[in-house]
């Protein structure tokens, strides 16, 4: 099964099958309690090309690579690179392809990772391209559900927030199409509904989903509440952002109306969409979810570099 990952580009969660992900999750279990530094990727260089701000994705990729014994080279923002002098993204990718064994890329343009993969011979991992894909986040999110519930199937999900611009939410929903959820509620203000192209994919893949305006309508039914931040930076019109800002907030009062085992996931960073009192409650699974970023990214790097 590991051959299916070897040297492949990781651009969209939709490029994977359920079996691929189940194999990845099983493989990630090996790294759950990994202490110290391994020499699995000794002598390899991992390039982190983050042209857009990131905390968890970049750090967890860096920690994962270093724990596996790899060396890491980084681009953080465009200001410190020759892109600020006018160099093309393509030229930057050609250079990273020569200097490293794998490229992890994040960019504000949709399709940037796919474009990078067309340029580079080494494998490319998409760490977020504009509003479109964030496949490794979806892997972490689904792995978290698996760890919490022992299954991804037959659960009822609500995905709450910015479904129009949020790539993590979109990738999570795409990821659910690979499994058999009982029901997926997509809850957002009308302005932040999923895009038509995304809706069509969900229909084509037979996801049992329903779009709602208000989380209170479905709170009693759900097992997993996936919350996302409103993606202020992707609104073409700041007035539009002002209209939806603060339009939903997850509080303990809301969660207490739900099932006792209800869990709240969030790809982080969160701003004000979850009341801070939830952070220390039994419902909050988002810090655990962030922690699982390390074993998943360790597993993925190992498998894609063909040493798994």
């Amino acid at each position: 099964m590991s051959y299916k990952f070897k040297h492949r580009d990781v651009i969209s969660i939709l490029d994977f099958t359920r079996e691929d992900l189940e194999f990845l999750f099983e493989y990630a279990d090996k790294f759950l309690n990994a202490e110290g530094k391994l020499d699995t990727l000794k002598g390899k260089v991992v390039a982190l090309a983050f042209f857009e701000p990131s905390t968890r994705s970049r750090l967890s990729f860096e920690v994962a690579a270093k724990k596996l014994g790899a060396d890491v080279i980084s681009i953080i923002g465009e200001e410190a690179t020759s892109i600020a002098k006018g160099e093309s993204f393509a030229d930057t990718m050609i250079m990273l392809d020569a200097y490293s064994d794998i490229i992890v890329v994040r960019h504000r343009y949709e399709g940037a990772a796919k474009y990078a993969a067309e340029i580079a011979e080494k494998p490319v991992i998409n760490a977020g391209d504009g509003r479109q894909h964030h496949p490794t986040q979806a892997m972490i999110d689904l792995y978290t559900v698996m760890k919490l519930f022992g299954t991804i199937d037959n659960l009822t999900y609500a995905v709450l927030g910015d479904l129009r611009y949020g790539r993590a939410a979109t990738s999570f929903i795409y990821g659910l199409t690979l499994f058999k959820p009982k029901k997926v509620y997509l809850v957002s203000p009308p302005l932040l509904r999923i895009r038509n192209d995304v809706r069509q994919i969900l229909i084509n893949r037979g996801l049992p989903f329903e779009e709602k305006n208000d989380i209170f309508e479905v709170i009693e039914d759900i097992d997993v509440l996936y919350v996302t931040r409103i993606q202020k930076e992707r609104f073409p019109d700041p007035m539009e952002y002002e209209r939806v800002k603060g339009s939903y907030i997850v509080t303990l009062n809301l969660l207490e109306k739900g099932k006792p085992h209800l869990k709240v996931l969030h790809p982080l960073p969160k701003v004000d969409e979850i009341d801070h009192k939830v952070d220390t409650s039994k419902y909050a699974a988002y810090y655990y979810q962030a922690k699982l970023g390390i074993p998943i990214r360790m597993a993925l790097l190992t498998l894609v570099m063909g040493v798994g």
């Binding site: 993204f89 393509a90 343009y109 399709g111 474009y115």
Partner: protein
């Protein structure tokens, strides 16, 4: 004298060039625009609009002297006028008949309407690429950002 014969007399045969026939009525000017033919080129161009057609009821016809269409230009016509037929003329004779069909992959012909698609990034040697999701109704998907466009979006997106 039939109506058709009258039309033949009005628009003479061309020595060499291209005849685009069976264009949906009213689309001829759009096709000229996307082909970048403004009338300033100096060739003779005949545009017939809303003429009778057995197949379409009404249709447009364009005759362009001197200019033979490239495969890319034929694809552009397929995107706007799926019923069109293209005749290449040499010495007053039709030497090639082309039926237009939207190809499975359309590269470098139309640009993506999404301003944050990587295919619109400045100073990048990247080609616009769309995949055909469906021929009828025509739906094309940008291979980079996933946005889906339909036939009515196409005229304003054709690269010139």
């Amino acid at each position: 004298m039939s109506i058709n014969e009258v039309h033949t007399l009005v628009v003479p045969k061309i020595l060499e060039g291209t005849v685009i026939d069976h264009i949906p009525a009213g689309k001829a000017l759009e096709i000229l625009r996307v082909l970048g033919i403004s009338g300033q080129e100096g060739w003779r161009v005949a545009v017939l609009m809303n003429v009778e057609s057995k197949r379409l009821g009404k249709k447009d016809i364009i005759k362009i002297e001197k200019r033979k269409l490239t495969p890319d230009e034929v694809n552009v016509i397929a995107l706007i006028a799926p019923t069109a037929t293209i005749n290449i003329i040499e010495n007053f004779v039709v030497v090639e008949k082309l039926k237009v069909r939207v190809p499975d992959v359309i590269e470098s012909i139309i640009r993506c309407p999404n301003p944050t698609c990587v295919s619109n990034k400045d100073r990048e040697p990247v080609k616009n690429r769309f995949k055909t999701l469906s021929q009828e109704p025509l739906l094309l998907q940008c291979d980079y950002c996933g946005i889906v466009i339909s036939r009515s979006d196409i005229p304003k997106l054709v690269r010139r």
